[in-house]
Amino acid sequence: MCPDVEILSSYYDDELEDSQKQLVKTHVDSCPHCQKKMAELGLISASIHAEEEPDFQMAQMNTWNKIMDIVDQKEHKLPKVNFWQRRFQISFPAAAALVAAFVAVLSFSVITFYMGKHTTSSPSSPELNMTDASGAMMDDMFDDNAIKFDIPAINTIINAEEPLLIREVDFMNRDGKH
């Protein structure tokens, strides 16, 4: 009885135990059917190896060099630096924009502060509004020698002691006719 092809495959790979191998060998030597099966296994293996192989030795050398480059690079990399010790690079336009923004914010803060101070410094004139304050500030800031116009303040309230609203009922009779 012929052995299973699975056994023949293992026999072909020389993977059978010695006792089993001897039995299979004796059978195959005298069995044309199993000899054909063995030949087929040989042909499959030969066809797999039909392709010419590239130069693996060169590949071995090249790959080794690449691996060593990576390994050396990893081992010689700079020590870890803390966040506050790191150096940052910033482009000139970005730096200029940052400085300009800082100056603008600073100027705005100074102006706002100055305006606030001027307003609170004259508590005796509660009528002074923002326009007056900024006008005074502009005078101080720009030109002390410029011609100043004193605009008289209107602080007289004209009271005619008469009702401003003349009610319609005053023009009507008691029966409701004009």
């Binding site: 092809v5 495959s9 790979d13 066809s47 797999i48 190896h49 590239p54 071995q60 690449k66 081992e75």
Partner: protein, 174 residues
């Protein structure tokens, strides 16, 4: 293990294992550049965890498994690309033979490659490790983390499938 000893040990492993894994990777990917990249990645992984392997054999089988997995992953990505771009695969050139013999050989190689491509990974991997890696069933089992009897069955099934895909007499064998 100091740096010098580590590098010496790594070099020893490289010289021993590289000839096996490059063949395995090449015959899976069919692309030498890709096979080199796969091996490079696997060996760097090995270097980074070299101390965790108790012996040469452990490192060897672990590396073979990594290379096998990376190679099949590459192949999967390539298949997707091929479907998308209908790319022509690299075919090795034959410079020694001429004329009809060359054509027959080229045709045979194409047929074998096509047949191998149709094998599922669980059959193709042990067959390639056997045929090109030169590993025995026990080593293949250790590399693929399967039993020896399972290796025997898978190799037999791979050959059986190839026998059906490559009818004897139709394929030129040099």
């Amino acid at each position: 293990m100091d740096d010098k000893a580590k590098k010496d040990y790594f070099e020893r492993l490289y010289k021993e294992i590289f000839p096996v894994v490059i063949k395995v990777s090449y015959h899976v990917t069919k692309d030498l550049d890709a096979a080199q990249d796969v091996c490079q990645e696997a060996f760097i992984k090995l270097y980074n965890r070299l101390e965790s392997f108790p012996g040469v054999e452990d490192a060897k089988f672990w590396l073979i498994r990594v290379v096998k997995n990376l190679s099949f992953n590459y192949l999967e990505h390539e298949k997707v690309k091929l479907r998308a771009f209908d790319k022509i695969k690299h075919n090795p050139s034959f410079t020694d033979d001429t004329g009809e013999k060359q054509l027959l050989k080229k045709d045979a190689v194409e047929k074998v490659n096509q047949a191998l491509e149709q094998l599922p990974e669980n059959l193709k991997a042990p067959l390639i490790l056997r045929e090109f890696g030169g590993l025995n069933y026990k080593e293949i089992g250790a590399a693929l983390d399967i039993s020896e009897s399972n290796v025997k069955i898978r190799i037999f099934r791979a050959r059986e499938a190839l026998g059906k895909l490559l009818p004897v007499g139709e394929v030129y064998v040099p």
